[in-house]
Amino acid sequence: MLYRENGQFKTSYAADQQIFPIAQDRLAIGLLLLVAFVVMPMAGSEYLFRAVLIPFLILALAALGLNILVGYCGQISLGTGAFMAVGAYAAYNFMVRIDGMPLIGAMLLGGLTATVVGVLFGVPSLRIKGLYLAVATLAAQFFTDWAFLRISWFTNNSTSGSVSVAGLNVFGLPIESPVAKYLFCLTVVCVFALAAKNLTRTATGRQWMAIRDMDVAAAVIGIRPVYAKLTAFAVSSFIVGVAGVLWAFVHLGAWEPAAFSIDRSFQLLFMVIIGGLGSIMGAFFGAAFIVVLPIILDQVPHLLGIPLSTATTSHLVHMIFGALIVFFLIAEPHGLAKLWSIGKQKLRLWPFPH
């Protein structure tokens, strides 16, 4: 009844091509942003920011990057953690080795370094495909894990191999309080989400999708697989690298390579698949599901006053989490984003479905 596009006529190409062609959607997004930028900073608790929202935003950004590679270009990667690590350590090095390097500059340079490494590890994708590629990307994962532990130059010769940053600020504004950190992450995520959404609508984005759907056919119609695959690796690694910088600098503050272990790579791939392949929105749904669900499940027995031991709770969380993943894959293999769009379809006809 409320959600209906009847009567919304498009009179220009620009109107036809906008990201949210329906007025109600624009309104909803506007409200969401308003809540995120204005209401949340005033209402949220410190715990909500530091333990839930900041990790959610950063991992959503990483999932967004991975989605470009997996969801849009069809190249499965299990090395996402590695590219996050490259971003984080590169930014750290730019920060400590160049005096007066601003945070944003270090972040973007970190992302660019991740791009270079990503393209390098993307080269085999020209020859290796599918699951073989997925496992081969683990080479990147284990190599970077090792490199950041072993090559002390990367950690500025820290004896323990753990590095940390302090005194972050953007244009003179300190990024110390949870709210500031949250707003900083939110801004970065919004910018990148918008950029990614638009990028997927360009010629390059369409080439990625053609490669994903069938690379031989795409090559036949004149799409260069080299260009398409490597740009996907580049863009994806850049975003993932930036997410790595945020994770290390803003969320953790001090870190070691274990923060970007193979578990992180699997976690991100989960987000992309559960959220929905080839959907920007999906990355957010997936991140919400994977980040928030275990936290909630963890607190359920506590809230209900059921005296379960810590170990049992944790095992149950594992089991329920695993079962829910399988359930959602069966219920909707195309992810939560697909469920969302089905919901919207139904809403259009509601309350009078034919």
């Binding site: 997996v70 499965i76 085999p124 020859r127 290796i128 495909k129 599918g130 699951l131 073989y132 997925a134 496992v135 081969a136 683990l138 080479a139 284990f142 190599f143 894990d145 090792w146 532990l149 072993r150 090559i151 069938m214 690379d215 031989v216 056919a217 036949v220 193979i262 699997f266 791939l269 989960f270 698949i273 559960i274 392949l277 170990a311 049992t312 944790s314 095992h315 149950l316 969380v317 594992h318 089991m319 989490f321 695993g322 079962a323 829910l324 993943i325 399988v326 894959l329 069966i330 293999p333």
Partner: protein, 309 residues
């Protein structure tokens, strides 16, 4: 020279153990097109069941005989793996027929989370031991030829022999029995197999049970070597380069791949490691596999990937 040979043997035997786990991946991929990431969790689950039942059964039944306890525990653990295979097929795989490879892969990751939780809830999360009488002390051979002799770990040798026996048995099972032939038919073409009356669902249960059996044997060998505890599920990561190097669909590939990776990583760690500061074997295995794949993208013995438009 003596040390080189020792390293070589060590690598070969480690490789055999990797093959054992890789075998589970290959069996399932061959018959159902699922890249089963839960293999590691299955190894842990099976080993936990084996270790705990070997401890519990004598207590319940009130006898004290290690061999009998191990045999009974093996039986119970195997039954458990069959039930598991059936449940996985029923609740999960049969509903995911015709889905993309990556969705299936993620489903098996979901299964592995579930199994990790379930195994530890049922059997506890301490460190347990499996005692099947593996020899622990090393043996020295050829002491006349080389100074100080060649050190061979008897435990690894026995394990490698068991692994080799298992592989042979599975190869025979695939080649000579009716069920094996049905499995191969399903592997070739799901639809064609179904149309000539091979029950797909039952075949899948069988395959997952066989993979469960491979997991159980791997669990016992690795468990007796390392102790049964959560980390056992991580040895699957060592088997992944083996699987892609050998080819996802090839049993001999899993064996040869295992040997190449085993030898490659040990030699690299010892002879190249010092130039890089050590600890390189884990990524070296993957880089080695990657190198092979660049030459043969389908692995050493994998079926040739033919692209059709």
């Amino acid at each position: 020279m003596g040390f080189f040979l020792e390293t070589l043997f060590g690598g070969l035997m480690a490789g055999m153990l990797y093959s054992l786990i890789a075998l589970g991946f290959v069996l399932i991929y061959k018959a159902s097109g699922v890249f089963n990431f839960a293999q590691g969790a299955m190894v842990l689950f099976a080993a936990l069941a084996m270790a705990r039942f070997a401890e519990w059964i004598p207590k319940w039944l009130g006898f004290d005989n290690l061999i009998l306890a191990n045999l009974l525990a093996f039986g119970v653990a195997m039954a458990l793996m069959v039930v598991l295979a059936w449940v996985i097929e029923r609740l999960c795989l049969s509903k995911l027929v015709n889905q993309e490879g990556i969705t299936l892969l993620m489903a098996t990751l979901g299964i592995s989370y579930f199994l990790d939780g379930l195994g530890q809830t049922l059997f506890g999360n301490d460190i347990y031991s499996i005692n099947v009488g593996m020899p622990k002390e090393p043996a020295m051979i050829l002491e006349g030829t080389f100074q100080g002799g060649l050190l061979i770990s008897k435990e690894d040798l026995v394990a490698a022999l068991i692994a080799a026996g298992l592989v042979l048995a599975l190869a025979l099972f695939f080649q000579k029995t009716t069920t094996g032939r049905a499995l191969r038919a399903v592997a070739d073409d799901h639809q064609a197999a179904q149309s000539i009356g091979i029950p797909l669902n039952r075949i899948w249960v069988i395959v997952w049970s066989v993979a469960g059996f491979a997991a159980l044997v791997a669990g016992i060998i690795w468990g007796s070597k390392l102790g049964v505890q959560f980390s056992l599920s991580l040895v699957a990561l060592k088997a992944l380069p083996v699987v892609i190097l050998g080819g996802l669909t090839s049993v001999p590939g899993a064996i040869l791949g295992g040997l190449i990776i085993g030898v490659g990583e040990k030699l690299s760690e010892i002879y190249l490691g010092s130039f890089f500061g050590g600890g390189i074997e884990i990524w070296f295995a993957y880089v080695l596999a990657l190198g092979f794949l660049l030459v043969r993208p389908q692995g050493l013995f994998g079926e040739k990937i033919i692209d059709r438009v």
